[in-house]
C-alpha cells in the first residue's frame, strides 16, 4: 500500500459535473447520530409501548441517514491526496458506516455514543483537509 501511496497523484483533475453539489459536511451525519442517541434515551425512559415503537422506527430511519451521509463523505469527499495526511480515514469511514448499522439494531446508548465518536473523527479529517473552506458556502 506504501507503493500505491507513492505512485498516487498529488493533485486532482475534475471530470466535472455540477450536479453533485460539492457540499460535504459531517454535521449532517452528526445530527442524525445525535437524534439516534436522544431517541434511545427517550425509548429507555418510556413505558408507553406505542411511543417506544415509534422511537424504534424513527431511530431506524435516522441511523440509515447517518450511514448514507458517512458513505457520501467516504466515497465523494475524501480524495487520494487526503490519505497522506489521514491514512486511517478509509478505515474510520468503514467503521462509522458499520457502527450506524449497529445503532439501527440496538437500544444501547453506548453504541450510539461510539457512532458519534467515529463521526467526530471523520469531522477532524474533514477539517484537516480543508473541508470547511472547500465546501461551506460563505454566509
Amino acid at each position: 500500500m506504501d507503493l500505491l501511496r507513492t505512485i498516487a497523484p498529488r493533485r486532482a483533475a475534475h471530470a466535472h459535473c455540477d450536479i453533485p453539489c460539492g457540499i460535504y459536511d459531517p454535521i449532517q451525519a452528526r445530527v442524525e447520530a445525535e437524534s439516534c442517541y436522544r431517541i434511545i434515551e427517550k425509548y429507555l425512559a418510556s413505558s408507553d409501548e406505542v411511543f417506544r415503537a415509534r422511537c424504534l422506527i424513527v431511530k431506524e430511519e435516522r441511523a440509515q441517514l447517518a450511514k448514507h451521509h458517512i458513505d457520501v463523505l467516504w466515497s465523494d469527499y475524501f480524495k487520494p491526496e487526503h490519505l497522506e495526511k489521514f491514512p486511517d480515514i478509509q478505515d474510520t469511514c468503514w467503521k462509522a458506516a458499520k457502527q450506524a448499522s449497529i445503532v439501527k439494531r440496538t437500544v444501547d446508548l453506548d453504541e450510539a455514543k461510539k457512532l458519534l465518536a467515529l463521526i467526530d473523527q471523520i469531522d477532524e479529517a474533514w477539517k484537516g483537509t480543508g473541508g470547511p473552506a472547500a465546501t461551506r458556502l460563505p454566509a
Binding site: I7, A8, P9, R10, R11, A12, A13, H14, A15, H16, C17, D18, I19, P20, K79, P80, E81
Partner: protein
C-alpha cells in the same frame, strides 16, 4: 577470459552505437514520461466516461500544447473559468474564430462544461492527458 573481455567490449561498443543512434528520439520520449509523471493527476467526477473514469490516474504532458494550440478532439487539462482553484479535464469540441476553446465532457449528460461556462482561454490549458497508469486492468494510452 579473453573471450569474455571481447564479448563485454562488443556489447559495450554495440550499446554505445545504439544509444547514439536512438539518443535523440529516446531521450525526448523519456523526457516526456518524466515530466508527465511529475504532472500526473487523479480523476474525479463522471463527465469523461467512458474514456476516463473517476479514480483513474493519468500521466499528463504539461508541454503538449507549448508549441501548438489544442485542436478539436484533443483532451485537455484546463482551469475552470469559474474557479481558478479547480483543474478540469475535458475534450475540445470546437475552436472559436478568436482561438478560444469550447470544451465538453465525453458524457454530456453528466458534464458541466462550455455549454454552461462558455469558451475558455487557450492559455488556461495546462497539459494533455495521454496515458492511464492506474487501475492496472485499464492501463494504456488514452485519446
Amino acid at each position: 577470459m579473453r573471450r569474455l573481455v571481447i564479448v563485454i567490449a562488443g556489447v559495450g561498443v554495440f550499446g554505445a552505437l545504439a544509444a547514439g543512434h536512438f539518443r535523440f528520439r529516446e531521450r525526448s520520449r523519456l523526457d516526456r514520461i518524466v515530466r508527465s509523471w511529475a504532472a500526473r493527476v487523479a480523476i474525479e467526477g463522471p463527465s469523461m466516461e467512458p474514456t476516463i473514469a473517476a479514480g483513474d490516474w493519468l500521466l499528463v504532458d504539461p508541454l503538449a500544447y507549448a508549441e501548438r494550440t489544442p485542436d478539436v478532439d484533443d483532451l485537455v487539462l484546463a482551469t475552470d473559468p469559474r474557479d481558478d482553484g479547480l483543474v478540469l479535464i475535458k475534450r475540445v469540441v470546437s475552436v472559436d474564430p478568436d482561438g478560444w476553446l469550447r470544451l465538453e465532457g465525453d458524457d454530456p449528460m453528466r458534464s458541466t462544461d462550455s455549454r454552461v461556462f462558455g469558451a475558455v482561454d487557450p492559455r488556461s490549458v495546462s497539459g494533455a492527458p495521454w496515458f492511464r497508469y492506474w487501475p492496472p486492468r485499464r492501463i494504456g494510452r488514452i485519446d
